[in-house]
């Protein structure tokens, strides 16, 4: 009897310690088991989408052979009935079924167009180029650069229109242009919580601006109070993510996008989602994310569309759809991950290329900018 008690005393702490240890940090056990199966039936799926994820297809591609001035498309924007595409060789516009290209010969600041946004109030198109910011209004280009305005740098990575302001993200800081007063306000390490003024993404919510600061995580600017705060990876180290959901997955951020009270943050190390209270991290090994290397992100309603170097992923935070292409056969593949169940759908059409640089979605249409052209898809279901 005494012996049994002694064993009991030993076994219980042993068991507790072993269980605690195993449950502590085992990355492989944190990862959902992805059942690579064509079986459509799902089982025991507690996180399956309440409404099905949108699936796009019927891709039609455009490149230098059928409309674009060059193959590489940096960005794309749906502007009512027309499509605006930023390429290395100019701004391409699809209107009434025909493409037209605008270059420096037409007044554009630079032929390399990296970012596009449209002021919904005025209809002005704002173009972030490799050589300044262009406003395209009533058929004319007005250009802003470091020499003729207070803009922080001529190479513009992101543009966002927010009421009367136009925000730009550059390697020399973030800039906010007041279209009423025609004045710039610049945000750098001097007046915002950044170590350095390297900014590569900017987006707006109802009351805030979110700046992706290279090495500085996300800088949040409250419009009403004009106050800043930052969100960084709490472990403070570049070479690791210590805990998965403790903050932005990495301080090297490349883009931000906000919709439906959710902030999505792109990095070259994975994806982050912030609901105002909790952060959630996603990597290619523990989710349906096509790749950790994210070039651009666009949030739309309940979904984030993530432009990676290995395909376009879409998620609601739990469920995933990823679009890839076999670049040799030009056949597409749609990979659907609902909760823990994975299935693949073959597509006769595909994206122009897996290296995705930009995306825009309006209604049933999706346009995707890739390294070898721009793709137009339609909502299938």
């Amino acid at each position: 009897m005494n012996i049994q008690t002694k064993h009991f005393k030993i076994i219980v702490p042993m068991a507790i310690l072993v269980i605690a240890s195993l449950g502590f940090v085992r990355p492989e056990e944190r990862s959902p088991v992805l059942n690579d199966s064509s079986d459509i039936n799902t089982t025991n799926n507690s996180k399956e989408a309440e409404k099905p994820m949108p699936i796009y297809g019927n891709w039609k591609n455009y490149d230098s052979k059928n409309g674009l001035p060059g193959d590489k498309a940096y960005c794309v924007k749906i502007d009512g009935e027309r499509i605006l595409v930023g390429t290395h060789e100019g701004l391409a516009v699809l209107e009434n079924g025909k493409w037209k290209t605008y270059t420096t010969d037409d007044g554009l600041a630079h032929n390399g167009v990296l970012a596009i946004d449209v002021d919904q109030a005025t209809g002005d198109v704002w173009l972030g180029t490799m050589g300044g910011l262009s406003r395209w209004s009533t058929g004319k280009f007005e250009n802003f650069n470091q020499m003729n305005s207070g803009m922080p740098n001529d190479l513009i990575y992101a543009v966002t229109c927010d009421e009367k302001f136009v925000w730009v993200a550059t390697g020399g800081g973030a800039g906010s242009y007041n279209t009423y007063t025609r004045k710039w306000e610049i945000f750098t390490e001097e007046n915002a919580p950044m170590h350095e003024p390297w900014t590569y993404g900017v987006c707006a919510s109802k009351d805030k601006i979110f700046i992706a600061a290279w090495g500085g995580g996300v800088i949040e600017y409250t419009k009403k109070t004009k106050k800043f705060r930052d969100y960084v990876d709490p472990d403070g180290n570049m070479e690791i993510d210590l805990f998965p959901d403790d903050g932005v997955v990495h301080d090297i951020t490349t883009g931000t996008s906000w919709a439906n009270d959710i902030l999505w943050v792109a990095t070259y190390f994975g994806l982050s989602r912030y609901d105002g209270v909790h952060w959630k991290g996603y990597f290619d090994h523990d989710s349906g994310l096509a790749s950790n290397f994210i070039n651009f992100i666009k949030a739309k309603d309940d979904y984030a569309f993530i432009c990676t170097d290995q395909g376009l992923s879409c998620t609601d935070g739990n469920n995933w759809v990823t679009y890839t292409t076999n670049e040799k056969t030009n056949k597409g593949k749609t990979i659907i991950l609902n909760g823990t169940n994975k299935k693949e759908l073959g597509e006769s059409t595909s994206l122009a290329h897996n290296f995705i640089l930009g995306v825009d979605i309006v209604g049933n249409d999706i346009w995707v900018a890739t390294a070898e052209g721009v793709s137009h898809g339609q909502l299938k279901h």
Binding site: Y74, G172, I240, N354
Partner: protein
């Protein structure tokens, strides 16, 4: 009886705790940046959820089948460096000289298919963001790859731009560890960084010299702030955090206030992290204030400028150097002679590494032809140029394309730097590094 069973349980629990710790420990493959397990962040407490830089990021973009123009009359390679308006112009000019020498020698050997190489030279100015505009200009000039820069601010800004332009960047002068921690597959660094330098200095200071109370004085800009980080992390993990960390501004000449503060804490040793000029002035003031502690310094002090300004005070200073300029290496000797003949001065560390970096670009172009993506591919494949024997020694890249080849200790003896191998970072059972 009760005491004995308690003792048994405690022993088993302790054993289990150690086993559990082991189970949650670092994986073997986390030797990124020559970092030993004991130096890895949080290693003793927590296994990370995700480790970066273990496998190199591949470039999955397009462009490998793009043909070169047929009407070329020259093969352009870009250069970005501090050539005017910067406190490190002397370093930039040496870097430019090293690049020019490599280009001239390649052209003497027929260039690329009898087309001459041409260097497209850009000044990096050093102001925020300016480097991005220079990279755009290089894209317009249609360079096939480019070399630069030294200032870490410049290099970071240029790196993001070069990713957009898709032009391979070979860096031979920026020691900022975070520079290659960006996961951008369009850069290789051909020089040891401040991680290597910080580890070597810390290992020397704590394990060889057995100092425990070390004061730090560093430049109050990014080079000082980021440069000291790896040393600082090592020191903390060794149980010897900095006693005091004082800062100085560029071009400051009177460091009395900072040194009085340091004197007050009676350190065993002092570490200076800054450019050659300020480091030399600080060292002189340390000695003039009667402080006799051993002094250590970052690798920018390994220069003629430092020795000239510091004078006799330099004696005994210990630093690191990314290569050994006294090495018995025929390639190095040949380079040093050619450089002195061409420019009338001795090459410094930036000249030698630029010579190696530019030769890598030239060889990559000769191997793969005029295609930016293929040039990137071959420079970053971790095979073709892995172990490349340059004038600076053997170049070894880790998974983030950071040069983790040998660096050297440099000690001033009789007015000259003498070079010796750095202590080997090897964990022992008591957690200390071995020489």
């Amino acid at each position: 009886m009760i005491k004995r069973s308690d003792c048994v349980i405690k022993t088993i629990c302790l054993a289990l705790f150690l086993v559990c710790n082991f189970m949650n420990g670092q994986e073997d493959k986390t030797m990124y940046g020559n970092t030993t397990e004991e130096l890895f962040p949080y290693h003793k407490f927590q296994k990370a959820y995700k480790y970066h830089f273990i496998e190199p990021v591949q470039f999955y973009g397009a462009g490998r089948d793009k043909q070169a123009p047929k009407d070329l009359t020259e093969v352009r390679i870009g250069f970005l460096g501090p050539l005017e308006g910067s406190p490190i112009v002397s370093l930039g000019k040496q870097m430019l000289n090293g690049s020019i020498l490599a280009i001239e020698q390649a052209n003497e050997n027929g260039g690329y298919n009898n087309l001459p190489f041409k260097l497209m030279v850009h000044n990096d100015v050093g102001l925020w963001g300016a480097a991005a505009n220079e990279v755009v200009e290089m894209d317009e000039e249609k360079v096939w790859a480019w070399l630069g820069s030294i200032d870490d601010i410049v290099s970071h800004v240029a790196l993001r731009a070069t990713l957009k332009m898709e032009i391979m960047m070979v860096n031979t002068g920026d020691p900022d560890p975070t520079f290659t921690e960006t996961n951008i597959p369009w850069v290789i660094r051909v020089i040891g960084d401040d991680r290597q330098s910080g580890y070597a200095l810390a290992s020397y200071i704590f394990d060889v010299m057995n100092h425990e109370r070390v004061a730090v004085i560093r430049s109050n800009e990014r080079y000082g702030r980021v440069g000291i980080m790896e040393y600082s992390g090592f020191a903390v993990r060794k149980g010897h955090p900095m006693m005091i960390e004082e800062r100085f501004n560029l071009d400051e000449t009177d460091f009395t206030m900072q040194l009085e503060n340091i004197k007050r804490v009676s350190p065993d040793a002092i570490l200076i992290w800054g450019n050659a000029k300020e480091s030399a002035l600080i060292l002189k003031q340390i000695r003039s204030m009667g402080m006799t502690q051993p002094v250590y310094a970052s690798d920018r002090s390994v220069s003629e400028e430092f020795l000239e300004i510091a004078g006799d005070a330099a004696e005994g200073l210990v630093s690191t150097c990314p290569y050994n300029p006294e090495a018995d290496n025929p390639k190095l000797k040949k380079f040093q002679k050619a450089y002195a003949d061409r420019f009338g001065i001795k090459p410094d560390v930036f000249a030698a590494h630029a010579f190696d970096g530019m030769n890598l670009i030239i060889e990559a172009i000769k191997k793969e032809g005029l295609n930016r993506v293929l040039i990137r591919d071959v420079l970053s494949d971790l095979e073709t140029f892995q172990g490349y024997e340059g004038v600076t020694g053997k170049i070894i890249f880790d998974g983030s394309w950071n040069d983790i080849g040998k660096i050297w200790m440099a000690k001033v003896k009789q007015g000259k730097f003498e070079y010796s191998p750095v202590p080997v970072l090897k964990a022992t059972s008591d957690g200390k590094a071995m020489e």
